[in-house]
Symmetry: D2
Subunit: 291 residues, 4 copies
Amino acid sequence: MTITLEQNNYGESHVGLLRVMHRGSFHEVKDLDVSVRFDGDFEAAHSKGDNRNILPSDTVKNTVHVLARQYPAEAIEEFALHIIEHFLTYNDQISKVNVSVRERLWSRIPVGDKPQATAFIANASEKRTAQIQATRERMVLQSGIEDLTAMRTTSFSFEDFRRDPYTTLTGTRERIFATSISAAWIYEISEPDLPFSTMWHSARKTLLETFAAHESRSPQHMLYAMGQAVLDNLEAIAEIRLALTDNHYALVDLKPFGMENENEVFSTADASHGIVEATLRRENDHHRGGV
Amino acid sequence: MTITLEQNNYGESHVGLLRVMHRGSFHEVKDLDVSVRFDGDFEAAHSKGDNRNILPSDTVKNTVHVLARQYPAEAIEEFALHIIEHFLTYNDQISKVNVSVRERLWSRIPVGDKPQATAFIANASEKRTAQIQATRERMVLQSGIEDLTAMRTTSFSFEDFRRDPYTTLTGTRERIFATSISAAWIYEISEPDLPFSTMWHSARKTLLETFAAHESRSPQHMLYAMGQAVLDNLEAIAEIRLALTDNHYALVDLKPFGMENENEVFSTADASHGIVEATLRRENDHHRGGV
Amino acid sequence: MTITLEQNNYGESHVGLLRVMHRGSFHEVKDLDVSVRFDGDFEAAHSKGDNRNILPSDTVKNTVHVLARQYPAEAIEEFALHIIEHFLTYNDQISKVNVSVRERLWSRIPVGDKPQATAFIANASEKRTAQIQATRERMVLQSGIEDLTAMRTTSFSFEDFRRDPYTTLTGTRERIFATSISAAWIYEISEPDLPFSTMWHSARKTLLETFAAHESRSPQHMLYAMGQAVLDNLEAIAEIRLALTDNHYALVDLKPFGMENENEVFSTADASHGIVEATLRRENDHHRGGV
Amino acid sequence: MTITLEQNNYGESHVGLLRVMHRGSFHEVKDLDVSVRFDGDFEAAHSKGDNRNILPSDTVKNTVHVLARQYPAEAIEEFALHIIEHFLTYNDQISKVNVSVRERLWSRIPVGDKPQATAFIANASEKRTAQIQATRERMVLQSGIEDLTAMRTTSFSFEDFRRDPYTTLTGTRERIFATSISAAWIYEISEPDLPFSTMWHSARKTLLETFAAHESRSPQHMLYAMGQAVLDNLEAIAEIRLALTDNHYALVDLKPFGMENENEVFSTADASHGIVEATLRRENDHHRGGV
């Protein structure tokens, strides 16, 4: 029997890193979770235990720390690009680097009406994300948001859906919609000097404003409106993938106790949830990908 | 051999509940996790399997739902008081009720510069809490905050501490302090019509402002200053218990790579942490407890 | 206004530690999570920022590592006693030490029918626990189990319980009982050379056998039987505290689809749960506590 | 601007389900977490809010419950196949169904030396998994294991690896290897009547025995040996993907305290970890996939 080693990779996951940038007495913080993976010439390591092409995962961690010291990058995309460039430059044995960065966001604590220079409070569970996959020929750069938790209490309906013998759900003109939003987008042209942070804030604002205002007939309808608004508002974005959960906040039946419950009391205990996922792309999608 | 049944209680934990209040087209949401425990005459249930004094925990859940429908309480303390009163009124077999409520906070999503009436985004992991223990004679009401995550990047020192042969830490005039804050306070007089929400926001603001501004020499020093500020600013509060973690954000040693690291790059991977806990009380503490 | 510093303590939480003991080529592993807290003379640290009585929490971590190296303790109780003794001996400023140890259990991997000497697989989520609180005069030593997850599918009833207007539950002769068991016990005489591991295994076996065989009429009835069996079987144990959750595995209503469901399909999605807690003590409880 | 709806799907995630099978007075339990996703003709739902092709995710949940009642399947693969068949048969608008099942494993509680018929204890965190993706033309069936936590304390080396200026790790002939193992395999021929459970237990045994016995020079070397052993021993398996974490159990430096530490005390607090992933395939791979 012959065995083929198919796709393989290795790396270091979840390097936790806080970078404090001193702008005089005014500090900025970047709180990051960094993962790095390599594809490359690792056949001998697998089949023979020959480690000569294996840069230790411990070295990956050191390198992430060193590069964080050298480059006080404002945007996580820039930091990820530094990591990519470092490993592709000094490691012939590596053919592809995949860097994933998740940023936990902090705000300044206000004292009186003045934000403090060096005191911070953690924001919501929401994370800013960047993922870059690059070979020496080609790069795909994704920016995104994870775990953005939001809720609509009106103007969300779900009616006239498909039914079968196991369908008990009744259509409704007015339901609650509670969701965890994940988004990831790629740019028309992936250039290292794009204003990543400005665009991230614009995309986030567009997603939330559409979520807040859209008269939706389903999670799919909502998702599409959110993706369309981003592609409409942000010309630099070529494609966006969205995933929305549909958390089962169940209207509690209070009839046994002689009470109405017109969208007032919901049970949130159900751990299962619906999920909708889709990718929307602008038609004039010529330039995607290359740097 | 004789066996004595000592302290015993039962109840229902983690009833997940969303209450939507319709103020015309303007909605408010309360997202609650409610736990209820009973002390009482349950000896026969334990020793003989006689359930006549056991109100099912399923009924507790129903009751929480019903009371949420009946009382669109603005403050979680008020809601907890309704639960207490219900069970003590209708259940002679129950001698003591313990209600614990944790509120997950949501903010309105702004569209343009106007907050939406019915669209919300989840705040940080921080929770507002209330815990009430009550018999027919006596009540202890605690309000609080859990999991308020904050960080100072300057003006926090730790020097001249006790040393022993296993001490390797060196004193420092300037260290980082990253913490998860928990607080719980009791009032001089526990009256059901205290302005609980106003006081909660005042206490939270005082805790954070003190955290942001204090020149601290240790986590203990910080804790004491935070508690003192609350007792100074809020006369209605008689006693406050605070717990601060001291998260080990370790300054990465970059000397092996020929680099300085003056409080710029920290590793956040260590899951262990220091902890400081204390209760501060105002001396003129005559009235604590009774309603 | 004068402020009093009431109960206060500090320490180090969740020191993660693996101890490998080399018995020739045969290895044993102890996988521990250790927390240590101190009460003592820490007033000046709080009110004045005077750290001279504060042994750093970092030193606590070092000490736990050093003591793990020095004492290859078979039982976590013995290891906790070494920690207690160390801190009480060398630190006059400390009046009380509280040590909590949670052990994650591993089994040897069998190869063929022979357990390997140096290869292990992690057991269930269940943890073995020990907690010791000690001053220079007095010690309380607790041994226990946490997160022991078990289930009964027959011979568990719940009938003839108390009803009120919000009770919808119907009594049943045959219900499912799924639970997470926590137990903690104290000994008649807390001597450092008790056979802690032997007794832990006996207590665990007794708890599980009673759980498996008892014809229970309620979670309370089950809890009492389990506690009673431990006190009956293990004379050295003076008192046991038990907590059982009652996980809401809901019988799915299949009638809308023309089907019976006689305890065959349950939904396990509900995150809320019932809880029963009690302490049982042997009457002849003279000697509890002192070492 | 025109927008294209690319890949899109929806479904229901994490339906928690317990199936009790009554073999006379002898019970068996299957504790499952089921997720179902659909690809299909959902364009109008997204762009127009037309729900006529959307079978509600609530119906998916009902269907999983109904099918669990109808088919007391011994293997999760069989159960997943029933779900696939149901949805593809009755839903023309659905082109592809993706079913993912994770099984939490339970063992019978022994009383004396006899395993109880109706009392169970939860096994380790390890899960048995199955994932089936199927269109009307083609099916890919994967069986697997997740979160199998294991450890080697000898005969694992890591030497002669690649070094760069940020490498501080020194090679070692004897290191610890603690890992979380995930595996997923596909069969030479995906037939619904394969003995899935027998093969799962064989694959698990082979993986663990290889893990326990192999003299490994790296995580890659170990992974390859484990995959090769499965392909060697189980002819029905065509391809296996393995992922091993390399948990950073750090040897504690006790030299500052005048002590040696020869692989005896490790710190387990570091949350970052290395990761190795690869797919191994048998060369004579003609038949993969079709049923």
